[in-house]
Symmetry: C2
Subunit: 351 residues, 2 copies
Amino acid sequence: MISTYISTQKQVLGGMAKQEDTGSVEDRLIARHFGPLATDPGAFGLIDDAAILVPPAGCDLVLKADAIIGGVHFLPDDPPDTVARKALRVNLSDLAAKGARPLGFLLSLALPREIGDDWLEGFARGLKDDVERYGCPLFGGDTDRTPGPIMVSIAAFGAVPHGTMLKRSGARPGDRVVVTGTIGDAVLGLKLRRDPDAAGRLGLDAVARDRLIARYRMPEPRNAVADVMRRYASGGMDVSDGLAGDLAKLCRASGVDAIIDATLVPLSEGARRAVAAEPALLADLLTGGDDYEILASVAADNLGALIKEAAAAGVAVTAIGRVEPGAGRAAFIGADGVPLVFARPSFSHFD
Amino acid sequence: MISTYISTQKQVLGGMAKQEDTGSVEDRLIARHFGPLATDPGAFGLIDDAAILVPPAGCDLVLKADAIIGGVHFLPDDPPDTVARKALRVNLSDLAAKGARPLGFLLSLALPREIGDDWLEGFARGLKDDVERYGCPLFGGDTDRTPGPIMVSIAAFGAVPHGTMLKRSGARPGDRVVVTGTIGDAVLGLKLRRDPDAAGRLGLDAVARDRLIARYRMPEPRNAVADVMRRYASGGMDVSDGLAGDLAKLCRASGVDAIIDATLVPLSEGARRAVAAEPALLADLLTGGDDYEILASVAADNLGALIKEAAAAGVAVTAIGRVEPGAGRAAFIGADGVPLVFARPSFSHFD
């Protein structure tokens, strides 16, 4: 594509009877950093214009695209390997919550001029770790220079047996509401990064502080229990915009209400200490976002098996409430039996 | 996802026994502008976190991602409907050149704060036109605010019968080299937009000028001949980074050389007049990029049928040279029988 932005020119070739083009800097950069991530034969080692995905027999493809932007979704001084892994993991988290097995992804990378080879090498290294860890190879994409911040756009593909994708709309009255892992660590981690005094005020030592910051920097998507969720849950989604708002979305899509016992919402040790020091924080943890846990509804009869098989896969699942007939509302009941009131139930980029 | 950039808060709800969340501004914006583009049932009207694509039986999926950035790939004052269509069409062009039928796409949209509803409405209107024209519905995506320029990242999916995707690596000695349409109009259009005196100097009237600028602003991808190419061509790719450089890529991937008669390269009436006025322009047209035509190799026996069936589909195809044994080089022979020498055979964002 023509760029109206970059017009510097380093390659000046000439004088050959047949002019030889040994490949642009962009091509070589892609080959070196991203070639090793393109392990599927359908990616053609990234030398073609497009890739081939041979869909697994009897499966539906699950499609998801999500982007992260420097200064918006990550901090400019975050290490490049965690930026790469966050970009992939926010998409893997959606695949997990839909019950899908990852197949691969496409990457569009926009880089400011000041981003050099070191940064890109770290980025590719982090991405390669996760390509291997989650079995999710790179199929292709593009790289561009931008006058703006770093933007990493990923489109990820997964597979589920035909007709079995876990939907937002599957929750039924009588179901239990469950979440994986712990809620609120990422928003607390971001607070700790931005406010150097917060850790002391909240009674958190350096270990607890670093653990929470790591949860903001790099999600731990729950792909290990994607299949368990698909087999036992009735509805599901990942928690990315805050538990309260995301549960309300699930309720609206399913045409039900949900009643949550806020005291049952699983918190990490650090988050518990922080809430003990500053009880008003609880609302931030329940509405903050970036959890990348799975929120699901499950028929009461399946609850035991789901929790047990998830535990066997290394993921704690906690029942936090129940689904009731209703019109798409979610209530969080506090320790005093009174519903919590949130100033802002869900994160939105456009509010 | 948590934003570190936007922290304004417009929604302040409260006081309800069950707190009702009627959906964020972002959700409503997506529903209004993009819901009508999500015509496939697998998109769930954009209310789920992911979409389902049921792969057509016996087909491979062809995957492509490409992004465009304001001030880089389009000009900031380009109308929003052409920005949307360019973003989709650069991807459709790749699908066409691979012989694939479009199935749908995912969209990641990053918008600066100053982008308002009017812009977005124009953007969605342009995109809807092309969704209908090319039979390529929206499956999902995400929207974000950015402190940088507009960025539109699209991942597009197409289908080909199993094993039939047209590759860069398929050209064989003895094949003819063909291109669709005309070459160089977009780079000339960009020149005319940036230099108000250029039209006069090149002897172009307002009609010719506007036609060339339109070719820069909005490609006309050759999806009408995707199937013809797939059936008759041996190798192919779209011309996006300049004919000379892209042909060299095809030659390298195929392990062949190509000898092109530069006088046969099809130019539009406007481009012909411009080259007559300023002969040195020819090199710019052959190396400039943004053509979004198809470059293909075709066995001599298939050439007649390919040209005839493409013409029946409304697309002119011109034979411009031949494939020879070699090591990945492309030569353009001028009217004087001497190979042209290009200062910069191909556009690259990182040179």
